[in-house]
């Protein structure tokens, strides 16, 4: 937990530094002193303060709870990683391939990842869900989904 707190705190420091840097480029309001940079800077100061305390506490060993270790070798975490990866791939090809084929593939893959093994059932459920969503969004509500190949 200690390490996580320090990383979290450092991220906070980084964000607030970034906010300060970016907001220095904002134009000042001519009439009012309170311009676009007013609110973000107050927040950045707050964030810096809180992050500082968090890091300090972590150094002084005041952080609570033993860390639930983030072990990249753990099967569960690997599975989550693969799910994330496949989601990214899915989104990248979504508007090129079209909603229906890519979504069916995506669902079947995820179900496989979660150790479902009844392939016929998997394909049937996936197709039904995807076509159902497609009908609700596109046909009934007239919201465009990525079409691509297969329309």
């Amino acid at each position: 937990m200690r390490k996580a707190d320090i990383i979290g705190g450092l991220m906070g420091v980084f964000i607030s530094a970034f906010v300060f840097y970016e907001s220095s480029k904002f134009p000042e309001d001519i009439v009012m002193k309170i311009g676009p940079s007013y609110f973000p800077r107050i927040l950045a100061m707050g964030l810096l303060l809180v992050s500082g305390i968090l890091i300090l506490q972590a150094y002084m060993g005041k952080s609570k709870k033993p860390a639930e270790k983030f072990d990249i070798k753990e099967p569960g975490i690997q599975r989550a990683g693969i799910a994330l990866l496949s989601t990214i791939v899915y989104c990248m090809i979504l508007d090129k391939v079209g909603f229906i084929p890519s979504s069916i593939l995506y669902l079947v893959f995820l179900m496989y990842l979660l150790e479902k093994r009844n392939y016929v059932k998997m394909t049937m459920i996936s197709t039904a869900v995807v076509v159902g969503i497609y009908i609700i969004f596109k046909t009934i509500l007239n919201i465009t989904l990525p079409s691509g190949f297969f329309g």
Binding site: I15, E22, F26, M32, K33, I34, L43, L54, G76, C91
Partner: protein, 504 residues
């Protein structure tokens, strides 16, 4: 108040063809609301064109049905899969999802239907009897009051912080910072956008929410699916038990009134109402520290407030011609296209229409109650589906929901990014709820603070010299201090338990 006209209004609504429209509207609304990414605003907006050809009674009946249905519908997915179907249900998931994780999904859902109904119906009643009076108070809400209201809502950040105040505050400030991304509300200058047009309106709200809550949760689900024991979610009841009602009735009544009022001030919608209702319930509760871990009052407060907001939002629309929230802005268009411009003149010249709307609103809430209660069993079937089928489907719905909001793949990336962030935050005990709160209330706080200062020519005392704003700010301070003290006590107790456990 004219009872003869109200009776006439009911007679107009209680006709078969109009009732059919209400039923259709409510059912469609619940569906739209429960699907992530489809909001009440979108639902109403998408159907407005279809009502062009209908007579005003039928068209209003249908649109109000969608409105009420969708606001309730959002809670279904919030409770069952931790994805608020609409922003209005964002506060519902705080206690709704933990309840369903404990196997009490049925209890949460039935309370949500009940609270939604009471909230919605009280909103409709208040709107019927007090519209002109309330709209006068709503006019008293200038920028300083809006700012104070936002601060009051934000004051529960500490108490939704979970185990660590520090991390909660940090998440809250981070959320507020996120809410400054995009075009500056006052000067129009693009802040932190990296020149990206997609960021001009900030990270879109629904995708951010889906990422932080739904995606992060299912990443976790994927991780633990094989090791986690199955929770038995038995649905035995359609309505909340008497014990639950007894526990919640005060909260529901208070939230209903608060929700109606917040709805009636233009610019504050049901998402804000739900959070203010939730804050108030928590502030006055005997065990505020338990909120967020699955307390039934939390669901009741959020749901009665956001549904009461529907009636409230109609008040300024009908009496001032100014929409109370995004949905009523669309409804304004639906009125106008029928040749009726809402506003003081509508009250003078078309009383019959006004009273039909009142009647339709009440009927829509009753229909929503019936359909919602009957649906509880059906909806909660969702979580009895095998998790290795359910999780992939939630993944897909999250992606589609993020996309559908603005037809933008960029928003999907936003959702994924926040999904990763949410996953790690959850893992390392950084609460996500303060971010949610900050995203809803941050823009309101900032733009109204700056607007107030423009009006007062830079004099900050404008915030402290007006009664409504002083009261709200005072309440905020009280709630901040008391929750800080209580939270410290909780932290201490947790630390004690931990060290005791270590000794054993």
């Amino acid at each position: 108040m004219r009872f003869d006209l109200l009776m006439q209004g009911f007679a107009n609504v209680l006709q078969l063809n109009v009732l059919l429209m209400v039923v259709l509207g409510v059912t469609g609304g619940i569906m739209v609301g429960s699907l992530p990414g489809l909001t009440a605003t979108m639902g109403v907006a998408l159907l407005v064109p279809f009502t062009f050809g209908l007579p005003i009674n039928q068209s209003m009946a249908m649109l109000l049905g969608i409105f009420c249905g969708a606001i309730y519908g959002g809670s279904i997915s919030a409770i069952l899969i931790r994805t608020p179907g609409t922003p209005a249900a964002a506060a519902t998931l705080l206690d709704g999802y933990p309840l369903s994780e404990r196997g009490e999904a049925g209890r949460a859902l039935s309370m949500s239907v009940f609270a939604s109904f009471i909230g919605g119906f009280s909103g409709a009643l208040i709107m019927t009897f007090l519209s002109p009076q309330i709209s006068k108070v709503a006019l008293k809400f200038g920028p300083p009051e809006y700012f104070a209201l936002a601060i009051f809502g934000l004051s529960i950040i500490i108490s939704v912080s979970g185990n660590s105040i520090l991390k909660g505050v940090m998440a809250g400030i981070f959320g507020l910072t996120l809410s400054t991304i995009g075009l500056d509300p006052i000067s129009g200058y693009p802040r932190f956008t990296f020149g990206q047009m997609d960021l001009f309106e900030g990270p879109a709200f629904i995708p951010t929410l889906i990422g932080l809550f739904a995606l992060s949760e299912i990443f976790k689900g994927v991780e633990t699916i094989l090791t986690r024991e199955k929770v038995d979610n038995k649905i035995t009841q359609l309505l909340p038990t008497l014990a639950d009602i007894k526990k919640c009735w005060k909260v529901i009544l208070k939230s209903s009134i608060l929700g109606t009022f917040i709805g009636s001030i233009p610019g504050a919608g049901s998402d804000i109402a739900a959070f203010v209702g939730y804050s108030e319930a928590k502030r006055t509760s005997k065990y505020p520290e338990k909120f967020g871990t699955g307390v039934i009052e939390g669901v009741a407060a959020a749901e009665s407030a956001n549904n009461a907001c529907t009636g409230g939002a109609m008040i300024p629309l009908l009496s001032l011609g100014v929409p109370g929230d995004a949905v009523t802005a669309v409804l304004l268009g639906a009125f106008v296209i029928q040749g009726l411009r809402p506003g003081p003149l509508l009250y003078r010249d078309h009383m019959d229409v006004v009273y039909s709307v009142f009647a339709a609103m009440m009927v829509a809430n009753i229909v929503m109650f019936i359909i919602g209660a009957l649906g509880v069993k059906f909806f909660s079937k969702v979580i009895t589906v095998d998790r290795n089928i359910l999780i992939p489907v939630i993944f897909l719905l999250s992606i589609v929901g993020s996309y559908a909001m603005r037809n933008s793949i960029f928003d999907v990336w936003v959702a994924i990014l926040f999904g990763i962030l949410g996953y790690f935050m959850q893992r390392y005990d950084f609460p996500a709820s303060p971010i949610l709160l900050a995203l809803i209330l941050g823009p309101m706080a900032e733009s109204n603070l700056r607007r107030a200062l423009v009006i007062s020519k830079g004099d900050i005392s404008i915030l402290f010299t007006r009664p409504i704003s002083v009261i709200l700010l005072g309440l905020a301070v009280v709630s901040l201090i008391s929750s800080f003290v209580k939270q410290k006590r909780v932290e201490k107790r947790l630390a004690q338990e931990e060290s005791e456990a270590a000794f054993k």
